[in-house]
Amino acid sequence: MNLVRHFWVKAQVYDRKAAQMEMDEKILIDPSLQGKTREEMGLEPFRCTKIRSSIMGISVFISKVAISWVTRRASEGKFVSGLDYSKTSPWNNIVNKTMFNNTRKGKYSELSMRNKMLLKIRNENLLPKGGGGDQPSLDHRVFLHFFTTKQKSNVPKYILRHMIKILRESQTIQRSWIPYGRLILEILHQGGILNALKEVNFFIDAQLGTVTGKIINGSTLKHMKLIKKEDYKVLNTDLKEPTVVSNLIYGFPPICKQDPLKVRERYMMDHFERTGQTIKITDIPENMYGGALPIA
């Protein structure tokens, strides 16, 4: 999950507001750009809201299309947002009818088992909150209404909006919790970032967040006191934890010519001391891989 942490700490929301700020900055530097299009300013056209980040210099972004890709369903369906806790919205009656079979808002205890469970899944799985109260906003009650009534909702868009909300909380109220770990990792994986990191021989498996489970064997039985200590015997045929170097670090080095000379020298000396192998100057790449990935 280290990659997910790398992604999260550098993540920024790129929406219409951020795109406009980009243009404003350009105009501030060069007032003659006033009235020009983004393309004329040398900026990429704004296509959709996304979360932008980078991992070791590799640009990564998550959009609703990327989420749609890994959830294997189209980014389409109903989406209602911006209702907050509005008591005057007509949606109140609609969702109360669905959840409580009544126009007034009922109590949690009045929910059916199915709706209670849906609420729990919403809180912990679909739009996870990471703790706190169970009182959903009207936006989220409408989301549940779509589920209960089997009306197709734009789940990828809901997830992106929720991810953005949590990201902003991380940055404003310093919330140290990251949702959708598996989803983000899946996007990084399917987007090719793992392959890109492999190309530059940057990571070892452990740094990629790959965790190998401890081998369950006779020793495990001993530790669990399922066999007597004296009955345990190490066999020649026992499986051993892999000690081979990952092909991800084959060929080294995780440095480039842009690194300060002292850093390169220190790294090369350290590598020689550890492995007995010499890194040639010609083996050091000019730059770290920095291309954009076709994630969305």
Partner: protein, 42 residues
């Protein structure tokens, strides 16, 4: 952010056992099916 990267807690996933829920009288598979979430249950 003033906290360190390693202090971030990652919620990997919260799997839902739909078969178990259905067995105990809470059928939700049809709801996920209606949302086209059969293949990927987040």
């Amino acid at each position: 952010m003033s906290f360190e990267e390693w202090e971030l807690n990652v919620q990997v996933e919260n799997p839902v056992d739909f078969i178990s829920l259905a067995h105990h009288g809470c059928e939700l598979i049809d709801i996920y099916h209606a949302q086209d979430l059969d293949e990927y249950r987040i």
